[in-house]
């Protein structure tokens, strides 16, 4: 969705031949995007940027700053709709010394949250599978057959693999490529499907052993 906003903005900026044309186009585009993401117009207000753009020369530094401000505001509104925004405490702490409303700082804070969500999403997905392996071991209470060990090993390996995907944050370019691609959900989906399919095969090849019995007294 952010790419869509950026692509629409870029096409307008490239196709405009004058400040008036650019201002009119951006005003219409901004109102449609803000309406689409149900933004609070009092918080995501582009009027000041449009006024500044209308008063500046075409392709001047002031005009580019105004365009940048409009783009950042639209992206912030889009991220807010998808509930990707920084906590108020973080916003207050990082805004010390800055202007009251700095949309660029808001965007940086929101993208930090996006990166954080990416990290703990994959760690949580991996830990889910690892905890399932622990549960299998606990349920059997020491009497583990070959099939049980295979199931534990499968879940542990896939869980560790999923959790280690979060380490892509070490390389900034790799992280941005992965985040902006469409491969995040398919990666988790393939890992879970591998576990489901191999589990089914193991159920046939190495059936589960009987659990221990006791009298069932209270």
């Amino acid at each position: 969705m952010v790419d869509y906003v950026y692509a629409g903005f870029e096409s307008l900026a490239v196709s405009a031949n004058s400040t008036e044309e650019l201002t009119a186009g951006l005003e219409e585009y901004s109102s449609s995007v803000l309406k689409l993401v149900e933004a609070d117009l009092s918080k995501y207000d582009v009027t000041s940027y449009l006024t500044s753009l209308a008063e500046s020369d075409f392709l001047s530094d002031d005009a580019l700053d105004s365009e940048f401000g409009i783009l950042i505001t639209l992206v912030n509104a889009t991220l807010k709709f998808f509930k990707i925004q920084a906590a108020k405490a973080t916003t207050k702490a990082k805004s010390v010394g800055l202007a009251e409303k700095d949309p660029f700082q808001d965007l940086i804070n929101a993208l930090d949250v996006y990166d954080l969500v990416f990290v703990y999403f994959f760690i949580a997905a991996g830990l889910t599978l690892i905890i399932m392996a622990i549960v299998i071991a606990l349920n059997k209470k020491g009497k583990l057959g070959k099939g049980d060990w295979a199931a534990i090993g499968l879940r542990t390996v896939m869980g560790v693999a999923l959790a280690l995907i979060a380490t892509v944050t070490v390389n900034y370019d790799a992280q941005q490529n992965f985040l902006s691609s469409v491969w995040m959900l398919p990666t988790v989906m393939m890992a879970l499907l591998i576990v489901v399919v191999v589990d089914g095969v193991l159920g046939w090849v190495l059936p589960a052993t009987e659990t221990h019995k006791h009298t069932g007294e209270a």
């Binding site: 969705m1 790419d3 869509y4 906003v5 689409l36 993401v37 709709f81 998808f82 906590a87 108020k88 405490a89 889910t128 599978l129 905890i131 399932m132 549960v135 299998i136 606990l138 349920n139 059997k140 209470k141 099939g147 049980d148 199931a151 469409v182 959900l185 398919p186 988790v188 989906m189 879970l192 499907l193 576990v195 489901v196 589990d199 089914g200 193991l202 159920g203 046939w204 059936p207 589960a208 052993t209 009987e210 659990t211 221990h212 019995k213 006791h214 009298t215 069932g216 007294e217 209270a218």
Partner: protein
């Protein structure tokens, strides 16, 4: 639950100073819920006070919830308009402590185990509810994304992936016996006779202390599984179950 539903809309842990009243309400509700649990366990303990091996695990549970209630009560005074800080982390510590104490004592003392209870079904139903909420959020997000940009191969792949993740979650059993059940349509049943292959529904009338196994979702819980206390009655043959370990479920 009603209290949590009412105060949920104004609950904001990211700014505890602004929502300190809601934090206090949550803490008070948690404390009251633990007091209610203490009373329930206390009533059960009164019924089984002559059975020493049942009193000790019940006392452990009561003590655990008492500690939790006291901590929640103390937290009431830490949420103020000036300084709430990270005090709400104590809630997580309380929950983890109680969960560990309950699970460990249930593993140690068979009298308070989760076997022959309806915990299995309830956890399964809760999982289904959570998965349903996930699907609702997914459809909302998909609706917005498609409104902005038309369907592309990437969007379609992500939608299919999200659906498959949600659908495959119940197919990831944490129990090998459930894996075998899924693959070979064999149901594990508890019995009240020497035969280990008796169907779950054919319970002999003399067997009143056992019920269907908690791993057979198609069989309803027997009335005996709702009885308290779960003491063995003299003169009734205790049933043999093929599935006795406490169910640790996700």
């Amino acid at each position: 639950m009603v209290t949590f539903a009412i105060i949920g809309s104004s609950f904001d842990p990211t700014s505890p100073e602004d929502s300190y009243v809601t934090m206090r309400q949550v803490s008070l509700t948690l404390m009251i819920s633990r007091v209610v649990l203490i009373v329930q366990y206390g009533v059960v303990m009164l019924w089984v006070k002559n059975h020493r091996r049942l009193v000790i695990p019940l006392l452990i549970h009561i003590a655990t919830f008492a500690v939790g209630a006291i901590l929640c009560f103390k937290l009431l005074f830490s949420f103020t308009a000036r300084s709430a800080g990270k005090a709400y982390f104590v809630w997580y510590v309380i929950i983890v402590m109680e969960a560990l104490a309950v699970f460990l004592s249930s593993s140690q003392w068979r009298s308070l185990s989760f076997a022959h209870t309806n915990l299995n079904e309830r956890c399964g139903l809760l999982t289904l509810i959570i998965l349903g909420e996930g699907i609702i959020v997914l459809t909302k997000s998909v609706g917005l994304v498609v409104k902005g940009e038309n369907f592309s191969s990437g969007i379609i792949a992500q939608i299919i992936s999200a659906i498959l993740i949600i659908v495959s979650r119940p197919r990831l059993p944490a129990d090998r016996n459930q894996v075998q059940q899924l693959t070979s349509n064999l149901s594990i049943s508890s019995t009240c006779s020497t035969s280990t292959k008796a169907p779950t529904l054919l319970l002999p009338p003399s067997c009143t202390t056992c019920g269907p196994s908690s791993t057979s979702p198609s069989t309803p819980p027997s009335s005996s599984s709702w009885k308290a206390p779960r003491a063995s009655s003299p003169g009734v043959t205790p049933c043999k179950s093929s599935f006795q370990s406490p169910e640790l479920l996700f």
